[in-house]
Amino acid sequence: MRNISIRFFCLVAFSALLSLTACDKKETPVAATAVAVAPVPQSLTVKIGHAGPLTGAQGHLGKDNENGVRLAVDELNAENVTIGDKIAHFELLSEDDMADPRTATQVAQKLVDSGISVVIGHMNSGTSIPASKIYHDSGIVQISPSATAIAYTAQNFPGAMRVMANDSQQGAQLAHYAVEKLGMKKIAIIDDRTAYGQGLADVFEITAVSLGATVVKHEFTTDKSSDFNAILTNIKGTDAQLLFYGGMDAQAAPMLKQMHDLGLPLTLMGGDGLRTAEFLKLVGNDGNGVIGSLPGIPVANMQNGPAFQKKFEARFGVIQLYAPYAYDATRMVVAAMHEAGSAEPSRFLPVLQNMHYQGVTANIAFDNKGDLADSAVSLYKAVNGEWQFIETVGAR
């Protein structure tokens, strides 16, 4: 028995030691991002957080968002923006959430600990939602540049907003396009039973039905499946003209191949999970005719897009996807701080909620939930291994 108590003590000591070393290393990245405070006497340091996957499969997209925020922060620092009667200095704290929900709550806590007033992030819906509770509890404003799940703003957290069309807006626009522009009357739907796929497919179904189309079959799969022969055979037994897939590229690609193998000549349509370069890489020229959408507007068509692109590319290289949105979100928050004369979330949030901001991507204003009052969705068609822009719908 004596042994046990000694071991127990060792265990406690060991775990303490473990966390001790953890801290040592952990401090480095924060120190590295910190910049010397400007020598202006009346200055105010405002910490802006960013969170997204900086490593892993989506690392390049998270880094892209971070670069958007960084560009905005550096510009704002050079512009000597005033908040109240002080010149503000902005400091960017960026954290890697690895696109994992639990890690996201961890980094959210870390950002809150370090005293940020606003966070631009997270990139994914799955991470933005659990993290939003932590920001909300600490009264911090969160603007996601790219989380599209409806549930994110449906929580009615006043500080949780986004500058991107949500799944509901996207699904509805896709349905409008399919029924009104393509004239599809009989539609089959498959969703992958994930929060994203199911949300998108359900909105698509409701909208399509309300526009007079019939959903002849609604089948289900999972985000890990690769065999869809059984459900596609079911669809083959109907007279569907279009197959809508709510899910990701990794399933959509083999699904398309199996459609060909079964002799099922339907148009395949999907959301931003399908409209990726990866999808085209996997299907090659078989992809011709597939229709996909992306929330937002192509950079070239944005009101200040080309100018932004030039600035951005000079520093960071090609824009991956959402950097302009992250940039806009950052500048807009700071504009709200400037107008409110305070970097306190409780003070600048009311200003932000009612603001009309002219950004790179669009004229941004929020509705009462924190979604875009006026959102754009762009449609693309796969032609010879490239996504060809068709049109932007939804924006005034």
Partner: protein, 348 residues
């Protein structure tokens, strides 16, 4: 109190030290590294409770359960249903947590009853199937009647504890600290239950079944009831931890209850030392804290050594984790801190 007198003072001193250490640990951690690490400690305690529950089934009764996370899921969803706007119910945790334990225990019996005749790997695959069935039902019962809200999960669950953050000698005290102490007390209660069970008639019957079911039956043990009791007890501990998880996170969705989680909890039990409470606690602590630690240092260390992140930290972390599992088992097949009662098993 007479029981206390029988324990040597040195052991009592050991326990006292452990309790004091556990009590000040979050304060030290929070002061030194920030509240995000206190959160890690919270999760450690949550997983410790879960692992202790599984230990009853796998460690004591020797029944290989690969679907244990299902009970955790059931506990979490019971909490979510009874304390969220989903059904508009907002009951007190004092009602919900026992209900969750009861419901999970019931499911334990439902799972246990048909599997009584199964042994070893057949049991493993049936429990695995059960775990997947529960998860798939949670994921799909949003139509025709919306019960679980499907893949979207249930959000805005009432928190177990909610306090206004305040400062305590420069330390910003938030609810993560309260959760720590709550979980600590509950974890201690679970440990106490386990210790008492282990030395009771029931505990000895479980171990008898584990060592040789036939012999146990021949000795007059009602193996059916005793096995069902193991499933029910293990499941209800899982149910309680699930409820705590739901109240802590405020959000449950089926993707938190995948097979890999069951496997992780099993790893905690086996790696730490099956059947030994201290070992299981050690396993839970190691498998919760180490991955977080690796995550925190993977990129900075690579940056220092190579000047850039060569290997994706997530891959590196999982790779090291896999190697650690193999190495530990090769060098300590009984676990890091094995139970003494276990015979030098030559079973194959």
């Amino acid at each position: 109190m007479s029981a206390l007198k029988n324990i040597p003072s040195r052991v009592l001193f050991g326990y006292a030290t452990a309790i004091v250490a556990a009590a000040i640990l979050p304060l030290l951690t929070g002061a030194a590294f920030g509240n995000s690490w206190v959160r890690v400690l919270d999760f450690t305690l949550l997983y410790a409770m879960l692992a202790l529950g599984l230990n009853i089934v796998v460690g004591y009764a020797g029944l290989l359960d690969l679907g244990y996370i299902a009970f955790y899921a059931i506990g979490a969803y019971v909490y979510a249903w009874l304390a969220s706007p989903h059904f508009g119910l907002h009951l007190s945790p004092f009602i919900i947590l026992p209900t969750g334990a009861l419901v999970a225990g019931l499911f334990g019996v439902i799972l246990g009853a048909p599997t009584l005749r199964l042994r070893g790997d057949y049991l493993a695959i049936v429990t695995l199937g059960f775990g997947e069935i529960v998860r798939l039902f949670l994921n799909n019962l949003d139509r025709p009647v919306n019960i679980t809200n499907g893949p979207q999960g249930i959000n805005l669950i009432d928190p177990l504890i909610s306090i206004t953050p305040f400062s305590f000698y420069g330390l910003r005290v938030t609810s993560v600290y309260c959760y720590y102490y709550l979980f600590l007390v509950l974890c201690a209660a679970v440990v106490f239950c386990c210790i008492r069970l282990q030395d009771s008639r029931i505990g000895r019957a479980w171990m008898a079944i584990r060592e040789d079911e036939m012999a146990a039956k021949a000795c007059g043990i009602n193996t059916r009831n005793i096995k069902l009791l193991a499933f029910a007890m293990g499941a209800s501990f899982g149910g309680v931890s699930g409820g705590l998880f739901a109240g802590f996170q405020g959000f449950v969705s089926p993707e938190s209850f995948v097979l890999l989680e069951s496997v992780m909890v099993l790893c905690m039990v086996v790696l730490g030392g099956m059947g030994n409470i201290a070992g299981v606690l050690l396993g839970a602590a190691l498998l919760t804290i180490t991955p977080e630690y690796l995550r925190a240092i993977a990129t900075p260390v690579q940056m220092k050594v190579f000047g850039r992140a060569l290997v994706d930290p997530e891959n590196l972390r999982m790779l090291l984790f896999g190697i650690a599992l193999i190495a530990t088992m090769l060098f300590r097949p009984q676990g890091l801190w094995p139970s003494r009662q276990q015979l030098p098993a030559t079973k194959k």
